[in-house]
Subunit: 86 residues, 2 copies
């Protein structure tokens, strides 16, 4: 990759949104995953990747247009945060 | 890491079992994930990591003792295969 010329500043457009959610117990993680599945069905949007173990859930949202994160992804991310509040 | 001395052959003990399951539709992937969650509850064993998108589920089973895959992991892997047959 070429270097950014002197005096210039490169600003990347975010291509993914990522968040890790941690839980005390698997039962809590499972409840969250279940709510997430229902949200996917309601919105018809499925996160690009959900990676989980007994006590964590990592979520990756990709830019739908492959160019930059837009309002659609920010809105989904906010809804996912809302599930955590329950 | 030191090289394996001449004439010797290093054999690794498998530390994880990994399998990718692919699906035609998210509904099928979700059904599989649901069955997997029930299996985790029954057995009390949760795969180290489950990573999924709309049409795939990747599963990683780690050696419980951190040393080598044993009968317990092979047995769980076989049970997970069984879920796919349904």
């Amino acid at each position: 990759m070429a270097d950014v010329p002197q005096g210039w500043e490169a600003r990347a457009k975010p291509l993914i949104l990522f968040r890790r959610f941690e839980f005390e117990r698997y039962a809590e993680a499972r409840e969250f995953l279940e709510a997430l599945a229902m949200l996917s069905e309601e919105t018809g949007i499925h996160p690009q990747n959900i990676s989980f173990g007994a006590k964590y859930v990592n979520i990756t949202l990709e830019a739908a247009d492959g160019v930059a994160i837009s309002e659609a992804e920010y809105s989904l991310a906010a809804k996912i945060n809302g599930l955590r509040m329950k």
